[in-house]
Amino acid sequence: MTEEETKVVFEKLANYIGRNITFMVNNPDDPHVFRLQKDRVYYVKANVAKLATSIARKHLISLGICLGKFTKHGKFKLHITALPYLAKYAKYKVWIKENGEMPFLYGNHVLKAHVGKMSEDIPEHAGVIVFSMKDIPLGFGVSSKSTLEAKNLTPTGIVALRQADIGEYLREEDTLFT
């Protein structure tokens, strides 16, 4: 990856995991690397990446976990497949109640009525990870209000704008994994 591409990816990731990004980039116990394959960015263990070099680019479909892809404008879009890492290092979290799980998995935003609990210090327009009450990561998005403001919202008010949810594994199967 070029310098510029790396910067774009890291900025995006930092949105969600903040300073924890250092764990992803330099983890001496379990070194990982970022690899660009076609327009997609994969995050993969260093030793696995080494083995993958023997596969010709043309025949290589995927390695490790796909974080997201570059759009034609050079922007980087995180995919739902990055969720395990985002959830692990997440900074701001929102938990939604059971009755809100299905609406969220069908691609709707997180409503005030469905929020079970949320991190205390979420500012406005920060990346949040959405969990179910059983701590299963369901997706991620952007907070529309800070925690304090969200408390005064009406039940139908939107707390977080959805960006990706695990329902996409079914809905977007054709476009997500080409």
Binding site: V44, I55, H59, I61, S62, L63, I65, C66, I166
Partner: protein
């Protein structure tokens, strides 16, 4: 009324006929009602009818042994009521009609049902009488057949007539037991040699008997019985091959195989095993899921799914990750747990190759034909996301599902590539273990894909084994013989034929003399064949074969 026949025959033709007949009767009935309305109130018969419903059902099922009239299976229950009500008025004077005709059976109930309690008792007597008569008549029939009939009858039970049914069934079971005992005693005394085959010369294809499903089925069972003890039961002057030919023709007719495939599969088993095999191919396999141990534990997953209204149970003692789904109120492929990658829908049989491969942590493993990824993700889970798994599939379209499953289940050590698997080990070699789940004819999963029955030709059974042999050789060449456990290859197919399994392995053993077979360490399954039709492999096979009937 031929309930058995009704269930067996796919598309009963007589629905329209019955409809039109009913309409006619309804017309007549209306006329009659007009004339004799004074005495009957129109509401009453319905109420009386409701009391009668279970009894009538019993009776109709009793008559199954003798008559062959077809009624459409999907006729709603209300129609029975209507039908008999109409008949009642139609046949008012014909109480003494012949009982052989099943329509008249209904009529009898209808006519006697003259809206008052006294008459009701009379019917009860009548029914009992009928029952005993029926039993007498049923006696000469073969016991297997009766059992089959009973099973089908059981399906018809619903809450409304359950109690009466169970009573009746108890009674019948008792009678049957006695009967069976009698039969046993008789059987010990003399062994009749039944004439099952049609007389020589009458075996033209247009013989109508050959297309009567129930008859064909009975004959198949009989022939199997004869073949089991040919010396005792075989008809004088008929050879064994005549029986086998007839049986294979019947199998083609009954199950819809091509003669070529039927013969190929039949030759693999003893006759009774073959029948079991063909029967098992008609039954749907249960839905099973595999817990993704990277994300959750089986107990937690089972709990979560039970809370969603899923009825499940562990598959068996031999696997710690499998769950069998009986029924579910939610779609199993779209629960939040599924989307979060806590489990994958996977047939129980496809756990086995991976268990046989027995991958360890920090190894390098190749899955040569990986899509859609059930086995690959299982390998990754067993290795706890350490080491490296190469998942290859030659079909680019299928790698999409493979990648999706790998990401959903969170397997971080997998490299997906799109080569023709025969190009290994040129691409990369030196693997600790290789799983070759070879493309095959699919004769072991006919219950999943019935098109195999007709689509496979002799040519397939030449081409597919050829490809399999090439694949197995490149699999052998890809392993590193110096790895800790000496390099393990698991070869698996979803086919049962000898050409695709034993012969391929035998070929590889001859071509690569430094390879030897090892025990799979699986608790279930059968030994592979060691000799088949004169082809005797050099070494005895210790690899196991799991037939679909086992699972």
């Amino acid at each position: 009324m031929g309930r058995r026949a009704r269930n067996k025959q796919g598309a009963p033709p007589s629905f329209e006929e019955i409809q039109t007949a009913k309409e006619k009767r309804a017309l007549k009935k209306r006329k009659r009602l007009d004339s004799s309305k004074a005495s009957e109130s129109p509401k009453k018969p319905k109420a009386a009818k409701k009391d009668k419903k279970p009894r009538k059902k019993e009776e109709t099922s009793e008559t199954q042994g003798t008559d062959e009239t077809e009624f459409p299976a999907d006729l709603p229950e209300v129609d029975y009521d209507e039908l008999s009500r109409e008949k009642k008025s139609l046949f008012e004077d014909s109480e003494d009609d012949d009982k052989e005709d099943d329509e008249d059976d209904n009529v009898k109930v209808g006519t006697l049902d003259d809206f008052d309690a006294e008459q009701k008792e009379q019917i009860d007597d009548d029914v009992d009488e009928y029952d005993s008569e029926e039993e007498n008549r049923a006696k000469p029939a073969f016991s297997d057949e009766e059992d089959a009939g009973d099973e089908l009858e059981m399906e018809k039970i619903n809450a409304s007539n359950m109690e009466k049914y169970s009573e009746l069934l108890d009674r019948r079971a008792e009678e049957e037991r006695l009967e069976a005992e009698e039969e046993l005693v008789e059987g010990a005394i003399e062994q009749p040699r039944p004439k099952i085959l049609p007389p020589p010369g009458t075996e033209e294809e247009d013989n109508p008997q050959n297309h009567d499903i129930t008859f064909v089925r009975t004959r198949m069972l009989e022939i199997v019985k004869v073949l089991e003890k040919f010396n005792e039961l075989g008809e004088e002057g008929r050879s064994r091959s005549e029986y086998v030919d007839r049986l294979i023709k019947d199998i083609c007719e009954y199950y819809g195989y091509t003669p070529f495939l039927a013969e190929k599969l039949f030759d693999l088993f003893t006759p009774s095993e073959a029948m079991e095999f063909f029967e098992a191919n008609e039954v749907h396999r249960p839905i099973t899921i595999r817990t993704n141990t990277l994300r959750t534990r089986r107990r937690d997953l089972a709990q979560a799914l039970v809370n969603r209204g899923v009825n499940l149970q562990p598959i068996g003692k031999w696997t710690k990750v499998g769950l069998q789904i009986f029924d579910s109120q939610v779609p199993i492929g779209a629960t939040p747990e599924y989307l979060a990658g806590h489990y994958i829908l996977q047939a129980a049989s496809s756990f086995l190759p991976v268990m046989a491969l027995d991958p360890h942590e920090n190894e390098r493993i190749l899955d040569m034909a990986a899509a859609p990824g059930g086995k690959t993700t299982y390998i990754a889970a067993m290795m706890k996301n350490t080491g490296c798994v190469f998942a290859n599939d030659s079909n680019k379209a299928r790698t999409k599902a493979l990648v999706a499953n790998i990401h959903r289940l969170g397997c971080k050590n997998v490299i997906v590539c799109n080569y023709d698997a025969r190009e290994f080990p040129k691409v990369i070699g030196g693997f600790d273990r290789v799983l070759l789940d070879a493309p095959c004819s699919g004769t072991g999963v006919i219950s999943k894909d019935a098109s195999v029955k007709t689509s496979r030709t002799p040519k397939d059974f030449m081409n597919i084994p050829h490809l399999q042999k090439q694949l197995l050789l490149s699999a052998i060449d890809s392993v590193n013989a110096h790895s800790k456990e000496g390099g393990v290859i698991t070869y698996s197919t979803c086919s049962v034929t000898v050409d695709e399994d034993e012969c391929v392995v035998d070929y590889a053993l001859r071509k690569r003399p430094n390879v030897k077979l090892v025990d799979t360490g699986l608790a279930i399954g059968k030994e592979g064949f060691t000799s088949y039709r004169g082809k005797i492999p050099q070494k005895s096979f210790t690899n196991k074969k799991v037939l679909p009937t086992c699972l």
